[in-house]
Symmetry: C2
Subunit: 341 residues, 2 copies
């Protein structure tokens, strides 16, 4: 059976969870698409790279425990990418919200080599979406990014495949789990600092949570959604952005006394033809959609010309990381569907 | 430019709204798929049929006002279907929840003639889905049904295109707008009878609302969702079904006193491998997803093995009928995407 060869550029929690999920769905992929999925290239942050043109066997070790001696410490990400021993590149390196790098360079190089590219990194969509989209189109390859917003929840595929013919007039929602978790905890009487600590303990608040708390992560996701769904060109620094760092227990209690909650809402629309995006703490009624998004739930509402608003909700799922890994897998399945039809 | 020829079997509000929407999106379809959409066959309930192999011009009259003398009163639905002057048949006749007829016969005949078929009628999915799916597959044609549940909200396309590789383990939600509207009105102090009358005035409660009130409509939608998404064979009469006819103002007030609301919830799952579906009035917390579904809002939650639960919400949209028409249009676009690739 023909293979589909996959490169994992970045091999942290998502990459490892994806490798495990791919093994679990190997038979499904073989039966559905007539291709055997194999991981042929891996690049890690600290251990170097691994190129195995026939596919890593994962025999005698788990995806989380690849022996060190299989890696070549002199192989960095660009070396693994340029070696080209793969059909599909999955870009899974950490995000730099302020630049979209090095992920954008990785993706551009993969596309220039004629490879299909999947990314779980919203940076490239926030900073260089149109260039990458056009490069992929001119190269005749797929560029997929379902896991960049709301993990594996199919926001982009919903719109592309299921809202065909509609013009998207607005996107809005709650996109950042960390701030939503902190606000939920604070409503329970927990201090801001303790809420951050608890989020860290549960593994979804970063060591430095300032990108979340200051609204940059939400702004990058809003930018990615607007660029892709509304066909505009906007960058995270152009979003009108207020974080939750200034929210106090007193604010939350005052809101509760009025039957309200405070949520970090995002909204992107066109005003006189120009894209306008806002991220800001907002008072919402307790019996409303944003209000019932507790802890790490999130949602996006997509307004259209032909059929009004459709909302899709991501509910908390354990382990959270599998949700993102599924987003990467769903992109791979979409690519397989295209290349094997 | 090549044409895509469409037959409308049933020409009530949805058929007319679809014809109008098709005219509005004609250029989009031509630019995207290189085909000119034309309506070549129409069958009405009381005025007979119309077959115009080159396409109805809609010049000098609106879709809602086709002159009577264009119809041949001797042409019934089966005669129009068998004449075969179309590439895509849209089955838009009224539903008979207890049998799925005559829609199922219409669809079967169209598929046997090698035509693509769209239906907005959940009856055939509730009673004969597997047969029709297999017939379409053996004929090499498309069988699409996005508008059968939650109007144009892309429940099936979401699952097919965007949750690929996932096994659906449960479907649940609020599927019936009429009962949800009545319950919402009753919470506002309106009597059951007055709520029904107001719903009729607004145009979405049937002359005989018993199919809604007794839960049959919700049961048929649940059956359709289970048959399609969970690959089971279940019929509406096998659903454990309780309607809202027995709900009194006192029940609703008692619920409110406990901070609850009463909602007609649907749930379908596998128990020891066998499909089990329930439709029943349920007490829900005021700050929960089903509780905030006011009036004609509805939602479906899809539980999966790979990524937990995804929920999609349909919000009220005026005019409601355009929402259903969009579901039919989205199926047409899907067919065009397949046949023109």
């Amino acid at each position: 059976m023909d293979k589909i060869r996959i490169a994992l550029i970045g091999y942290g929690n998502v990459g490892q969870a994806f490798a495990r999920m791919l093994m679990r769905k190997k038979s499904y992929i073989e039966e559905t698409f007539g291709r055997t999925p194999v991981i042929t290239s891996i690049c890690t942050r600290s251990r170097g790279g691994l190129i195995c043109p026939d596919g890593i066997a994962f025999e005698g070790f788990e995806p989380e425990q690849i022996p060190d001696d299989l890696f070549d410490p002199t192989l960095d990400a660009m070396a693994v990418i340029r070696a080209g021993e793969y059909d599909v590149m999955a870009e899974l390196t950490p995000i730099d919200i302020m630049t979209g790098q090095p992920a954008t360079d990785h993706i551009r190089t993969g596309l220039l080599l004629g490879k299909h590219v999947i990314t779980a990194n919203k940076g490239p969509l926030a900073w260089a979406y149109r260039e990458l989209r056009e490069l992929a189109a001119s190269q005749g390859v797929q560029f997929c990014y379902e896991a960049t917003v709301m993990d594996g929840t199919p926001v982009y595929n919903l719109t592309r495949e299921a809202l065909m013919g509609c013009r998207i007039t607005e996107v809005s929602g709650i996109f950042n789990a960390t701030t939503n978790f902190i606000l939920t905890e604070m409503e329970r009487g927990v201090s801001f600092a303790d809420a951050v600590a608890e989020g860290r303990r549960q593994g979804f608040v970063e060591a430095d949570p300032s990108m979340d708390i200051d609204g940059w992560d939400a702004a990058a996701k809003l930018t990615a959604l607007m660029n892709v769904l509304m066909d505009v060109e906007i960058t995270p620094d152009q979003i009108q952005r207020t974080g939750i760092g200034g929210i106090t227990r007193a604010d939350i209690e005052a809101a509760a006394a009025r039957g309200k909650r405070i949520k970090l809402l995002c909204r992107g629309r066109l005003v006189d033809g120009a894209p306008v995006g806002t991220v800001e703490p907002t008072l919402v009624d307790r019996e409303s959609l944003p209000a019932i998004m507790d802890a790490t739930s999130s949602y996006v509402t997509i307004d259209t010309d032909l059929m009004g608003a459709t909302t899709i909700i991501e509910e908390p799922f354990e382990p959270e990381i599998d949700h993102t890994a599924y987003g990467v897998l769903s992109d791979l399945l979409r690519i397989l569907k295209e290349v094997t039809r």
